[in-house]
């Protein structure tokens, strides 16, 4: 540990430079972690889905409806355990600036099939009993200050007019990939008010064994193939993944920017390290004369670079991890469950190591190879 004092003294000599360099590294890794987390969050959403759940949509396009009468026929498919359905409602609240998902669902079966949505028992019962009731995600409580028992008015964009719902319950998702800012209400209420058309957006099915998924999906799609409303059935995960691909090239974009950020900071750090080493040429020569080996000097200069990048990494990555968690960030509902994963932090750590090597290796080698006599010539 005797070199610790030397390292600290060296870093402390140019306090401002050390501070600026560490801050640059911290900022770079904070940005890196943020950008990377956008990708991992979208990826996690694409992976989400119980292996036992299937989704059936209209094969021509998921925005086209299916008849509600399919429910009975789906229940009769061998291997089927539970069937529920939902409709996209597209309601707006207030000025409509904050988007949130609104669904009409067959409430009882929906909550049955999604145990990941946890609702207090009394609220659940109250919601199931009240046809004009709504179940809201916990985030909407924070966002709009809504309370259980309160009436809220939504403006229908697809189903025109004002829709008044009484909030009967608040759900908390136990899986971070489930949106915590959706509003759900009874399908029957929607169907009644829109003239009993019997249109359903999509069906969610629970089957007995994940291994049967392909077989059951095929049975369903074959059954409705020549009907006026042909279906497309796939696993819930495939359904979610298809939404994730709609982000387009966002992954590439985030990676490119992340790379540019890291590279830019590499330049800053490398520059600072080279400046430090250059200024210290004489000192290094003195150290050599008093018996420091080439290898030790190499290690000392590299350790100095490492101390800077690792301190920066801890600050930047730690800030990213804590900040997004503390602010419950979800990009206005676009990225539910946004979190800086430990894998991202580990990658950030590796980047810090690479930064250390890339910025420290040239000055460290120069220090090790320093010709003592030539360098000492300048000593006053």
């Amino acid at each position: 540990m005797k070199f610790w004092t030397l390292l600290r003294a060296n870093l402390g000599r140019h306090k401002r430079r050390t501070f600026l360099t560490i801050t640059s590294v911290a900022l770079a890794l904070f940005l890196f972690a943020s950008l990377r987390s956008v990708i991992t969050t979208i990826g996690a959403a694409a992976q989400f889905g119980s292996a036992r759940r299937l989704v059936t949509t209209n094969s021509t396009g998921f925005i086209l409806p299916l008849p509600v009468a399919y429910a009975n026929r789906l229940e009769a498919v061998p291997g089927m355990e539970k069937v529920t359905w939902a409709n996209w409602f597209g309601g707006q609240y207030g000025d409509g600036k904050r988007f949130f998902a609104t669904f009409a669902v067959d409430a009882k079966s929906y909550l049955d099939i999604y145990p990941e949505m946890s609702v207090p028992a009394d609220q659940k019962e109250a919601f199931l009993r009240d046809k004009g009731g709504a179940l809201i995600g916990a985030r909407l409580v924070d966002l709009f200050g809504w309370k259980v028992g309160q009436n809220v008015t939504l403006r229908g964009t697809i189903f025109p007019g004002d829709w008044i719902f009484t909030i009967r319950g608040v759900y908390t998702p136990t899986d971070p990939s489930i949106n915590d800012d959706a509003l759900m209400f009874h399908y029957d209420y929607l169907d009644e008010r829109t003239g009993h058309k019997g249109n359903v957006g999509w069906y969610i099915l629970e089957i007995d064994k994940p291994d049967n998924a392909a077989q059951i999906a095929k049975t369903i799609d074959d059954q409705f193939k020549s009907s006026p409303y042909p279906t497309k059935t796939g696993t819930e995960q495939a359904f979610n993944a298809s939404f994730a691909t709609m982000w387009g090239n966002i992954g590439l974009l985030m990676n490119t920017i992340g790379l540019a950020v890291v590279f830019a900071i590499l330049l800053v750090t490398a520059n600072a390290m080279m400046m430090s080493a250059r200024e210290r040429t004489r000192e290094l020569a003195v150290l050599k004369t008093i018996g420091y080996s080439d290898r030790l000097l190499f290690g000392l200069v590299l350790a100095e670079a490492g101390l800077i990048t690792i301190t920066g990494a801890i600050l930047g990555l730690g800030a990213a991890k804590l900040l997004y968690r503390a602010t419950n960030f979800n990009a206005a509902g676009f990225l539910p469950g946004f979190d800086v994963s430990w894998a991202t932090i580990a990658t950030g750590g590796v980047i810090a190591m690479v930064l250390m090597l890339a910025s420290g290796i040239v000055p460290a080698m120069q220090a090790a190879r320093l010709p003592v006599v030539a360098a000492l010539r300048n000593v006053e």
């Binding site: 396009g61 086209l64 597209g90 025109p160 950020v261 830019a264 800053v268 520059n271």
Partner: protein, 387 residues
């Protein structure tokens, strides 16, 4: 008296590595800055160009986009006889009732991914109402046939999009008979087919929107008032240009905010780099600065000289950054218009103003980074430094 710029140029050349590293750091920030704003620009301009100030878009009341709207045939026939509508060469009113639905199509480059592509059911008037729509290849779809005309940005990105090929969806084949451009607008990401074929195929009875061209654009307010007061239907009347500009607002703003956030954090790092470089430059040139001061140059001139040097390094970085970003111009990328879940393809758009902004940004970074070191240089204690 001013210190000549050639002094700064020589100093920069004397320390090539640290000058280059600092400039390159700034270059990367400028490149990301320009690249991200070019993305936001491209997206916004694709949607903004979609709407024409001469056109009126009629949707069902409360619908915030075409997909959630619905107008029945009675409404569309009433709208077809709006007296203020312009008339085409054949004497028909330029009023186009359209259906709008998104169809999932597999992509070419990523076979696992699906994109929702807009299928617009149109009749003959649609091609005349949109003045920027031009056929590049083929002929218009014939009435009564399952034929499609494809926007230019779909071609080559989805399978079977060449003229003469056939696409299959909604349970039937559709022959591609033409391609069209629409001035880079969102229409170029759409498929257009005859509404009398499209609507039965998708089991739709209602249109989604009616677009009409005004004979006199000044009549918009009058048309809006009379249609919205009409008791026979409940509609919202939008100026088409305003409507599409609003559609681009959410994602356009997100992209812009993201661009500013990311680049300002990067900029702080780059400024710190410049600060480090300039401080090192100042401290290694103490004797030189002392000589300048002894020769009679004012501390103010020394300050200006070092600021100029820092700005010069940053400017070089800015130019390099522009060069790095420039190849992005025109590159087509796609994202989803979350309002309708439809895919929209657009090109990165780098404008001269954007390049200039990048250069100004670079110089500002350089000046900010150079200020404190330059002030230190101007306050060098002469005697001590000369010793």
């Amino acid at each position: 008296m001013k210190i000549p710029i050639s002094y700064n140029l020589r100093s920069m050349r004397a320390r090539p590595v640290s000058t280059a590293l600092t400039a390159l750091g700034i270059a990367l920030v400028v490149a990301v800055f320009i690249g991200m704003l070019a993305l936001a620009n491209g997206f916004a301009s694709a949607l903004v160009k979609t709407g024409s100030a001469d056109n009126v878009l009629v949707l069902r009341k409360g619908a915030d986009n075409e997909m959630s709207s619905s107008l029945d045939r009675e409404a569309s026939s009433i709208l077809a006889s709006v007296p203020q509508a312009a008339r085409g060469d054949d004497g028909h009113a330029l009023v186009s009732a359209e259906s709008y639905v998104v169809i999932p199509l597999g992509r070419i480059e990523d076979t696992t991914g699906m994109a929702n592509v807009v299928l617009r059911g149109v009749d003959a008037e649609a091609w005349k109402v949109r003045s920027n729509v031009k056929l590049t290849q083929g002929r218009l779809p014939a009435s009564g046939q399952n034929e499609l005309c494809l926007g230019a940005k779909l071609v080559g990105r989805f399978p079977n999009t060449a003229v003469g090929q056939s696409m299959t969806f909604a349970g039937r084949p559709w022959e591609v008979v033409c391609h069209f451009t629409a001035g880079g607008s969102a229409f170029e990401s759409e498929m257009w087919g005859g509404s009398e074929q499209v609507m039965p195929a998708l089991r739709r009875d209602n249109f989604q929107s009616v677009t009409l061209r005004l004979a006199d654009p000044g009549a918009f307010e009058e048309v809006k008032r009379s249609l919205e007061a009409d008791k026979r239907f409940t509609v919202d009347v939008h100026k088409e240009s305003v409507f599409y500009a609003q559609q681009s607002q959410l994602l356009g703003n997100i992209l812009r905010i993201l661009a500013v956030l990311i680049t300002s954090i990067m900029a702080v790092g780059a400024i710190f780099g410049a600060v480090n470089t300039m401080y090192a430059a100042v401290s290694s040139r103490m004797p030189e600065i002392a000589v300048l001061l002894t020769l009679g140059f004012k501390p103010r001139s020394v300050l200006a000289s070092f600021l100029i040097e820092s700005a010069l390094i940053a400017f070089i970085g800015g130019v390099v950054g522009c060069l790095i970003a420039l190849p992005l111009n025109g590159l087509v990328t796609s994202t989803t218009n979350w309002a309708t879940f439809s895919e929209i393809a657009f090109a990165f758009r780098i404008t001269p103003v954007l390049l200039l902004a990048g250069l100004v940004f670079a110089v500002v970074m350089g000046m900010l980074g150079g200020f404190f070191p330059a002030r230190r240089a101007s306050k060098v204690p002469v005697i001590q430094a000369l010793r």
